[in-house]
């Protein structure tokens, strides 16, 4: 925040090399000037491709969903009836399932990730730091489909036998943990999503914590703060916005996560209060029904769900990036990669 107008990565910014280039005398031959132009044109095309791809995705989604957009309008997002047979499509159950499963994931993952990030950057001995960050990042390397499979064969039996009954007994009065537990359901999906987003939230939080200037910590310690007070006053308070960004990035990932959720959530377009009950998410309805959708309206409705997912995740990601930039801007990115 100290130097608000500093451009990103200013320290050794080769973007400024253009200024040096002008000084170089143009004694190069015509062909090499042509080659320079061609090369610059080529890499410009590559860069433009990135823009074109995103524009293309948006265009295809809008085009593909136009039928359903016209037919249902806003009712698509308020109706809760998903009936492919009669051609009636409302996406509320999927929006509900996506939001609830992501929320459960955040409730579990946020404290864990913050704890891990804090431990790695502020508390643990230097020798453990590398190995712990490697291990948390290893969680991010596991493919979604393997998470799903592990959940089916290991997590669900565990939940059904031990954790579910305990939750029903102690927290059953909330209405969130009632009814029979078939295994798959919102809770299972939330837990598996939580495991999947911990590495993202914790690694970005770590980046943000590292970016907090050292003198903040020293000042707190010099005032006689204990280590925890130093973290609370000197580090966390300064990194608030960035941590919020990290959490929102985790949310963005959870919203769009497909395979693991599809494998465990139960895939039923119902809205139930109990987290034991099966549900359905926006991503998983696409994954399950897209290749079966035979008539055009059905397909178009599924693409419209994709469009909604696309727009929501983009907004969430942009918002989160801005928050993270607010904290890490001005310090060298990725002090520890």
């Amino acid at each position: 925040m100290a130097q608000p107008h500093q451009p990103m990565g200013s320290a050794a910014n080769p973007g400024a090399i253009g200024e040096h280039l002008r000084v170089v005398p143009r004694r190069s031959s015509k062909t090499s000037r042509l080659a320079d132009g061609v090369f610059q044109g080529l890499v410009w095309i590559c860069a433009a491709c990135v823009l074109a791809i995103v524009a293309f995705i948006l265009m295809e989604l809008i085009k593909g969903s136009s039928l359903s957009l016209h037919q249902f309008g806003w009712k698509f997002f308020t109706g809760s009836d998903w009936d492919p047979v009669n051609g009636n499509f409302g996406s509320v159950p999927f929006i509900y399932g996506t939001l609830v499963s992501s929320l459960v994931a955040l409730i579990i993952a946020v404290p864990l990730s913050l704890g891990v990030a804090m431990f790695i950057t502020e508390m643990c001995p230097r020798s453990l730091r590398g190995i712990l960050s490697y291990l948390t990042e290893l969680l991010a390397a596991i493919p979604s489909v393997i998470y799903g499979m592990w959940a089916i064969f290991v997590l669900i039996p565990l939940l059904r036998k031990y954790i579910g009954p305990v939750l029903a007994k102690t927290l059953g009065w909330t209405g969130l943990f009632t009814g029979p537990m078939y295994g798959g359901g919102m809770l299972t999906a939330g837990i598996i999503l939580a495991i999947m987003i911990v590495p993202i939230i914790s690694s970005i939080t770590r980046e943000v914590l590292v970016a907090v200037p050292h003198h903040q910590r020293e000042a707190a310690l010099a005032l006689g703060a204990t280590r925890w007070e130093m973290i609370k006053v000197g580090v966390l308070r300064n990194a608030r916005a960035g941590i919020a960004g990290a959490i929102i990035l985790g949310l963005g990932r959870a919203l769009g996560e497909t395979m693991a959720v599809t494998m465990v959530i139960g895939n039923r377009p119902e809205i139930a209060k109990s987290l034991f009950a099966p549900g359905y998410t926006m991503a998983s309805v696409i994954a399950n029904e897209f290749s079966e959708a035979t008539d055009d309206l059905y397909l178009s409705a599924l693409i419209e769900i994709g469009l909604a997912l696309f727009i929501v995740t983009i907004i969430v990601n942009i918002f989160a990036q801005l928050l993270v930039w607010r904290v890490t801007r001005g310090t060298p990115r990725r002090a520890s990669a």
Partner: protein, 288 residues
């Protein structure tokens, strides 16, 4: 006064210890599923792996013993190759543009868009490629699967290439230009060469990331129970096959799914570990 002082100290010290303990518990709770997943993969996977897994295609009728995933392994390789052919040049190229040529608005927009593309759910990319290729060709194909994975590789490679090129000191570029080398030569043979191990690291990480992707392949590559390496036909892929087998009701297919998962995770972890190793020794020497 000393009385109160001491009680405050006591509270504060307790809070400090408590916070540390909680953080340690968080770390343990996160390590628990990691250990559980890996131990299950190794135990169940090794028990299920055999030579037939690598040499046979799935047996004819569902759940029948025997058979393997040879076609899925080959299919994955084909799709990943197509993806790399598309993703690597585009990603490295736009990374070069962002680091060496971009001044002003356009570069910022591209950088931002790459971050946006990175956050797009993979299933949505699957839909877009379906609309682009599958509908036009009128059938699912290996090519469509490869294109989807290629698109997913681009943002990761773009951003890591840019970051690595930015680490190359300006003096190196100036020295090259001062010798009269045209800028494109200097960029390719001096700047890119200097940052090469870093750029390769980014490429490999992107590769590892997409090699486990299933969602974008669901309605592009589709999967296939038989041998096929044709680019315009549906093709099997390891993650797809694991998905189908894990959800099936047959023990024999579950066995194959565990074996497949082990092979996939070994591939991914080996890639990212070797990348770490290369990056830790290669790049430090190159840039400074």
């Amino acid at each position: 006064m000393p009385e109160t002082n001491r009680t405050i100290q006591w509270h504060r010290r307790l809070a400090d210890k408590l916070a540390t303990a909680l953080a340690v518990i968080c770390v343990l709770l996160v390590m628990l599923p990691l250990a559980a997943i890996f131990s299950y993969l190794v135990i169940r996977g090794i028990a299920s792996l055999n030579l037939a897994f690598f040499t046979h295609i799935p047996s004819g009728s569902p759940g029948e013993p025997g058979g393997g995933m040879a076609n899925a392994i080959v299919g994955s390789i084909v799709i990943l190759l197509i993806g790399s052919v598309i993703g690597v040049p585009l990603g490295v190229g736009s990374g070069i543009y962002l680091s060496e040529y971009s001044r002003g608005q356009f570069g910022r927009v591209v950088r931002f868009t790459a971050d946006v593309l990175n956050g797009v759910p993979s299933i949505v990319i699957g839909i877009a490629v379906y609309a682009l290729l599958v509908i036009r060709q009128k059938h699912f194909s290996a090519l469509a699967g490869g294109v989807a994975l290629g698109i997913m590789m681009i943002p990761t490679i773009t951003r890591s290439t840019e970051e690595m090129l930015r680490l190359v000191p300006n003096s190196i570029r100036e020295a090259a230009l001062g010798l009269g080398i045209p800028q494109w030569r200097s960029t390719l043979s001096i700047t890119l060469r200097t940052a090469m191990s870093g750029v390769i690291t980014g490429v490999m990480l992107a590769f590892a990331r997409v090699s486990g992707e299933t969602a974008p392949l669901l309605f592009t590559a589709l999967g296939n129970q038989f041998w096929s390496t044709k680019l315009n036909q549906p093709i099997a892929a390891l993650p797809l096959q694991i998905y189908i087998y894990a959800l099936s009701p047959y023990d024999e297919w579950h066995r194959l799914a565990w074996a497949g998962a082990l092979v996939l995770i070994v591939l991914i972890v080996a890639t990212s570990a070797s990348v770490r190793w290369v990056a830790s020794r290669g790049f430090a020497g190159g840039a400074h």
